[in-house]
Amino acid sequence: MTRAFGMVTFQAFSLLAAAFAMTIVADDVKAAPPPQAQLVHIGNFTFNQATLTVRPGTTVTWVNDDDIPHTVVAQGLAFKSKVLDTGDRFSFTFAKAGQFGYFCSLHPHMTGTIVVKA
């Protein structure tokens, strides 16, 4: 009996667990659409989001709203834009988690950070 009860309990637990797991999966699907693309505006010689936190897989686009050219250069050179004149854009997709400091190589006092975490 004990054994049967145990089995039933185990089965019930498994079912529950499976159901629970499915819920999690379902929730996951709902909660994690493909990462939203993010936009960083460059204006007045600043990156408008000094620190931007995104999920892995996110594409970040920088757009230069100034009337002076800027660049976007990662400190470890993980990414490096060409010169961005007014209205020009640069995009990079962050596949892996990590912290990416970047700056404008023309105006190095312009700095920003992208934090990528799951």
């Binding site: 204006g43 007045n44 010689f45 600043t46 100034d66 009337d67 002076i68 050219p69 660049t71 400190q75 060409k82 010169v83 004149d85 007014t86 400091g101 970047y102 700056f103 190589s105 023309l106 105006h107 190095p108 006092h109 700095t111």
Partner: protein, 311 residues
């Protein structure tokens, strides 16, 4: 012939320089006077013939936004002013941001216009001249022949030692202008053999003193260069980048920044950013040229006479 009148005429002519700044050297000692005080001042006792050179800066060829739809046109005006000088300068220095985006046609146009002067032109790059895919090679190939590293060099002219420094290469995140260890080492060697009585003129794009840190208007390791220059009796440092005149004298060192021939920038901290100052069209020419670079220092006087593109 009255030498004082000569000098007056000479200085009057300088007032018509009309471009960035115009410099007079008298007898190897840099003489520094504003026009008014120059006319009033006693004649400098000197045996050798004075000479002048012109500084042009920040031509930004290719810039075409407010307040200047055509930076080529204003540069052409600046060059016409130089050509019209009755006392022709011995040479011209261009303190950087020759181009807006380091494009071949921008460099080419600047080059063609400057050639009309028929004078030697000495360049240093600004950060806008480092934007080709190779980070400054296009500029160096055209304007930096015979230079070292990122484009530094020196030369002598009538007893004055000229040093061209580059502080826009390999800039560090969060920093300002940067000379770098290699260039400082070269500078030390370049100065080592010189007598401290040799007048020195240093030119570089970004100011070699901190004008305004929040906008990056300074050079992180400038102090090391200034230390090497400290023993010289007459040092004049000429910069651009900030598109307005500022000046300062510290010991034997005179600092001066020139106007742009393309567009003015705001005074430190007076605007949200150092972007172009959008002045009305009728004001533009007066901000690309007047000047009152008046500083007199002890026995060594350096004349820096700035004037505007206003006719």
């Amino acid at each position: 012939m009255n030498p004082e009148n000569d000098r007056r005429d000479f200085l009057k002519c300088m007032a018509w320089a009309g471009t960035g700044a115009l410099f007079a050297f008298n007898g190897g000692i840099t003489s520094s006077l504003g026009l008014d005080s120059a006319i009033a001042a006693p004649l400098l006792r000197s045996a050798s013939k004075p000479f002048t050179f012109v500084q042009l800066s920040d031509s930004h060829i290719g810039f075409n936004k407010p307040p200047n739809a055509d930076a080529r046109a204003t540069f052409r005006e600046a060059i016409a002013k130089v050509k019209a000088l009755p006392n022709q300068p011995d040479f011209v220095i261009h303190t950087g941001d020759v181009s807006q985006l380091s494009r071949d046609e921008e460099f080419d146009d600047a080059d063609q216009m400057l050639k009309e002067l028929g004078l030697p032109v000495f360049f240093v790059p600004g950060e806008h001249d480092m934007l080709d895919p190779d980070g400054g090679k296009a500029f160096l190939k055209r304007f930096g022949k015979g230079s070292m590293g990122a484009g530094w060099y020196s030369f002598d002219h009538r007893g004055v030692h000229f040093i061209a420094l580059v502080n826009v290469a390999d800039l560090k995140p969060g920093g300002m202008g940067n000379l770098g260890a290699e260039q400082l080492k070269w500078l030390k060697a370049d100065l080592a053999a010189r007598h401290s009585s040799t007048p020195i003129v240093v030119f570089a794009h970004i100011p070699l003193w901190t004008v305004y840190e929040a906008w990056g208007w300074g050079t992180d390791d400038a102090a090391e260069a200034l230390k090497l220059l400290a023993r010289f009796g007459s040092v004049t440092i000429l910069n651009g980048h900030i598109h307005q005149i500022t000046q300062k004298v510290e010991g034997h060192i005179a600092f001066h920044t020139a106007r742009s021939t393309a567009f003015p920038q705001p005074a430190p901290g007076t605007a949200p950013s150092p972007g172009p100052l959008k002045v009305p069209p009728e004001q533009l020419h007066s901000m690309l040229g007047i000047t009152d670079a008046v500083f007199v220092r002890g026995h060594d006087r350096v004349a820096l006479i700035d004037s505007t593109l206003t006719a």
